[in-house]
């Protein structure tokens, strides 16, 4: 008989099928050779880390958000760190999933948006330019 419906919080990674002795050996070797992200980088997820990341991301978090993110990032990074266990020596990076050719066009000037169209969505404009905050303090 089918079991009752699974609650979403019970979602989990299915266990992989029975492995060959070779796979098991390989995995054991991998685990020994490739420590987790936390082990290699000694990441301590605390308010200081979250504040640093937020500053780099140009986000001002409330104290409540910061506290929540500490708890959540611990869980997420702990789970994600297993990616570092995959042996990837001599494996190339895959930036795009399908091969790409560079696309060139002829260097011919074509009409572009009129200034009024380009500025139509902004509230900050002056003399046909976008107006921004000061860049240099």
């Amino acid at each position: 008989m089918p079991t009752p419906r699974r609650a979403p919080e019970q979602l989990k990674q299915p266990s992989t099928r029975q492995q060959t002795p070779q796979q098991t050996r390989q995995q054991t070797q991998t685990q020994q050779e490739a420590p987790t992200l936390q082990q290699t980088h000694k990441i301590i997820v605390d308010e200081q880390l979250i504040t640093t990341v937020a500053r780099n991301a140009r986000l001002a978090l409330t104290p409540a958000e910061t506290k929540r993110f500490v708890v959540q990032f611990k869980e997420i990074l702990d789970a994600f760190s297993k990616v570092s266990k995959v042996p990837t020596n001599d494996v190339a990076l895959m930036i795009h999933p399908v091969p790409l050719k560079n696309v060139m066009r002829q260097d011919i000037v074509k009409p572009s948006f009129p200034v009024e169209t380009a500025l139509a969505n902004t509230q900050h404009k002056k003399d046909n330019y976008f107006k921004g905050p000061r860049i240099v303090s």
Binding site: A7, N56, F80, V86, L93, P97, V98, L100
Partner: protein
């Protein structure tokens, strides 16, 4: 749902004058207006644009019929989407219609141009009826992470449950409307097929590069794909054919010929080789879901396909972390362009640029958007980049190799689209972000690898639909359309023989 005409049937009735395109458009607009206060499928219903487009088509059709202008009628006949109402995911730009990707940071933005998929759909006679609800910038699997000030769409079968995400509005309306309709949807990690499965409709995510991304508000450039959602595989095939193909405006579109997808609907599947990813049917998947999808596979076998159980390792075991490391890294840079200066939400010009930028983002982005920007920023930070972002890109290479090896032996791989049926909102509210991310477990693999995939309904569990997911090799959308048509013969379009 079964009462609605197919795209091909509606087109014929419009061309013979049996139905009027303006009246048909008016009916679906009224229906959308009526449903929206309780289901929240649309962020904007573009009634004015739709009426103008319908009236123009009516003039063309009536003139051709009146003059018995065979040449003109032939031109109209060739328009694949003639008079077909199309809803559009909010992240896809429609000229002059507010387009926000479901985020308050873009509130008020009226794009001065059409995305390529919109230009192509309109050129084929499509009528744009509105912008559909989504998780903010696509950041979610349940469509509950809508931007500040937006409302969460509700499942057409049970208002207490999710539509799935992130293309939830498009899938929900496709199921509920009585009229012929297709939806332009978009996937980064499963956002076309997941809501299609939860709402009991067909969703097809094409190969990365098959459809132009020009005019799509990026979530993650190397993962985003615009695709099609419809009541049937046949409708989805027509929409895909209308939008696919190389685009000079998008360097990542592939210059690969577009097949006549519609011609594959109803083709025999004898000899089709299916690899059934057995791990996806065991521990972690609702047994009722597994049972329904197995019945679907057996129905394909009865039509001449053969199957074997196969092992899929990395995409299942490493798919979720790999996907989130890549996707959030790309998102964290992509969203930097929303700085409150040229379009969208503005704040008073005070302080330095960094202070202004920080203020705009902090006040107008929702919590999941902030979390993903933070995760992506972390994954790209000096000291962690090699171990996070670059390692994920290498794992991606290995995943693609694993898929490619399986495709030397099998035409398609199959799993359930999601391990569960659409959950209730109160169940989702209890999930941690990580638990939330796990709903993508079967869909992130093909998205990471840029492989085309389709979700087709295979019956219901206690009234809630179950979707079967089929994945094919790059640019083999036609195989998926053939399979989708075959599944519908016994299980699809809400007519499942298994129920």
């Amino acid at each position: 749902m079964a009462d609605a005409l197919s795209i091909i049937a509606l087109k014929q009735k419009l061309l013979t004058g049996e139905l009027d395109v303006v009246e048909h458009t008016e009916m679906i607009l009224q229906e959308a207006e009526k449903l929206n206060p309780s289901y929240h499928y649309f962020n904007v219903i573009s009634s004015n644009l739709a009426r103008v487009q319908a009236q123009e088509l009516r003039r063309e059709i009536q003139t051709a019929l009146k003059l018995k202008d065979k040449k003109k009628l032939q031109v109209l006949q060739q328009k694949k989407l003639l008079g077909i109402p199309i809803s559009v995911k909010d992240a896809i730009c429609v000229k002059g219609v507010e387009s926000t990707a479901g985020s308050r940071i873009l509130k008020g933005y009226l794009p001065p141009f059409n995305a390529t998929v919109i230009s192509r759909s309109v050129n084929e006679g499509g009528i744009i009826i509105g912008k559909t609800s989504q998780d903010e910038f696509g950041f979610g699997g349940f469509n509950v992470n809508v931007g500040l000030g937006y409302q969460v769409p509700k499942n057409p079968f049970d208002k207490n449950r999710t539509t799935g995400g992130s293309s939830g509005g498009g899938s929900g309306f496709t199921q509920l409307t009585k009229y012929t309709h297709v939806s332009l949807t978009e996937s980064t990690g499963g956002s076309i097929v997941e809501p299609a499965a939860f709402c009991g409709v067909v969703g097809l995510c094409p190969t990365y590069g098959r459809v132009s991304r020009y005019g799509l508000m990026d979530f993650a450039n190397s993962l985003d794909k615009i695709g099609a959602t419809g009541k049937t595989t046949a409708d989805v095939a027509v929409l895909l054919q209308s939008i696919a193909g190389f685009d000079q405006k998008n360097a990542t579109t592939a210059d690969v010929p577009v097949e006549d997808y519609s011609s594959f609907v109803g083709k025999p599947i004898k000899g089709l080789k299916i690899g059934v990813v057995s791990v996806a049917f065991g521990d972690g998947t609702d047994s009722f879901v597994a049972e329904r999808v197995w019945k679907g596979i057996k129905s394909l076998e009865s039509q001449g396909a053969s199957y074997e159980e196969v092992n899929l390792d990395l995409p299942i075991t490493m798919g979720v972390p790999t996907y989130y490391l890549i996707a959030t890294s790309e998102a964290s840079t992509n969203l930097a362009k929303y700085c409150g200066l040229r379009y969208g939400k503005h704040e008073p010009l005070e302080g330095s640029f960094n202070e202004y930028f920080t203020q705009v983002r902090s006040k107008n982005l929702g919590e999941e958007a902030k979390r993903r920007i933070m995760l992506g920023t972390f994954a790209r930070m000096a000291g962690y980049r090699d171990a996070c972002y670059l390692q994920a890109l290498k794992v991606r290479t290995k995943m693609i190799e694993e898929y490619k090896k399986l495709f030397t032996k099998y035409d398609v791989l199959m799993t359930p689209t999601a391990p569960i049926v659409a959950p209730k909102f109160d169940e989702i509210a209890k999930l941690t972000p990580l638990q939330h991310y796990m709903i993508d477990i079967f869909t992130v693999g093909p998205n990471i690898a840029g492989l085309p995939h389709i979700s087709v309904p295979v019956g219901k569990q206690n009234g809630m639909p179950v979707g079967a997911l089929a994945i094919a090799d790059h640019f083999k959308e036609s195989t998926l359309i053939k399979l989708g048509g075959a599944l519908e013969k016994t299980c699809g379009a809400g007519q499942c023989a298994c129920d």
